[in-house]
Amino acid sequence: MKKRILVVCGSGLGSSLLVEMNIAEAIGELGIDAEVSHADLASAKSLKPDIIVGTMDLFPQIKDKAPHVVALRSLFDKKEVKDKIANLFAPPGES
């Protein structure tokens, strides 16, 4: 099963698209089989993602909207995104 990653921000326009581009790059480099998309907060729940991603300051709004939550300290730090995604997909016992 392909895991579905959803990046959210307030309006689902600029910031979430940016993080989506970085995640797409990261899963490509890590060789992870997942699909990533972006949306606004209001639509997040109905899209039923496996993993939801947003910035730290949105954490209260996203924490209950998916089985796995990734809260980012920064919108543009590619390394942080890559590490957190890699951690999530690491086989149990390795992280």
Binding site: L13, G14, S15, L17, H38, D57, P60, L75
Partner: protein, 422 residues
Amino acid sequence: MDTLWKVLLHDVLSQPAVLIGLTALVGLLLQKKAFHQVVSGTFKTTMGYLILGAGAGVTVGALDKFGTLFQKGFGVHGVVPHNESIVAIAVQTYGRETALIMALGLVANILFARFTPWKYIFLSGHHTFYMAVLLAAIFVSAGVTGWPMVILGALLLGFTMVLYPAVGQPIMRKITDSDDIAFGHFSTVGAVVGAVVGKWFGNKEDSTESMKLPENLTFLRDTSLAIAVVMFILFVVVSAVAGQEAVSQLSGGQNWVVFSFLQALTFAAGVYVILAGVRMIIAEIIPAFRGIAMKLVPNAKPALDCPVVYPYAPTAVFIGFLFSFLGGIVSMIVQAALRWTVIVPGVIPHFFCGANAGVFGNATGGRKGAMIGAFVHGVIISFLPIALLGLLGELGYKNTTFSDSDFLMTGIAVGYIVRLFK
């Protein structure tokens, strides 16, 4: 052959939805995407443009009722600035010009970044799109049309995409402690002016982040929900002042509270649809733009959407919203007392741009800087729209207008300068 040429000229190049689709197509081809990605990307972008138009009708219905009741209740014209609604209305008239200005404006941004010291690549596609709409409207109302308008508009759009990030950069360096990223959101001037004023009164050591705010305020970060809640309050106030009689004329006898609730949510629903359309347009165009720009301008700095600064000062985000909104309410009362056109505080500009002003103000003047800076910002975006209304031609008579400081500044400056030469 003649007919083919005709179809190309009249049906392809005059259709904004097709032009926007073509822009995405070029970007996808330049990125050498797979065939199915090229097809789906082009279709989605074109569809996004059509969805945007569908949302316009929904918001206008609710806005017109709001305007009518406001006029009846207060005896003056009330305008609720919201970029989304004015853009969706405007592209019905200026769609073709907008699409051309946007496509060429992206190229102009790359040229400015390549050949001037302002090496910014502006990645907030929705704001690029809104600025293209504003420039098209300003030029057409001033009587500048055709290719001169497209070329001038595109150059100006590209220029704003490096100018405003450059204006914000000194404070961005303070906020992020680095020079790697820039602020790419057309609310820069309001945030910077607020931060400069806030600096006089505050002390940056006394940061907002030492304050604790209730967690449940974050629901306001949900754009559609925040619009629904604030518009409901505004509708209730206006309906109450106008009275059940006036409401009944619009609603066929519906109770005024129920009417207010449904109209506010209809407006929010319309904005939701518009945003979905804008999202589909920029989702295909921006990745291509970023890829190409970063290749052509190796030392470019990305200028990013406003939430990029929020994680640095989450408390300042809410302080900024509350005080900007307060500035909007105070301005509204002053305008009503003067019997001017009244600018009703729009929730999106006060939230997003007010939050920026809060974060910028906190960086220069701490807690007081955030409060005063955001308040000043709220006053700025309440008075600038009045100066812009007269420069927008037909668009100036709607119940909504552009809402963020840089759109307003650009519109006023370009509008007056163009009129000097006409």
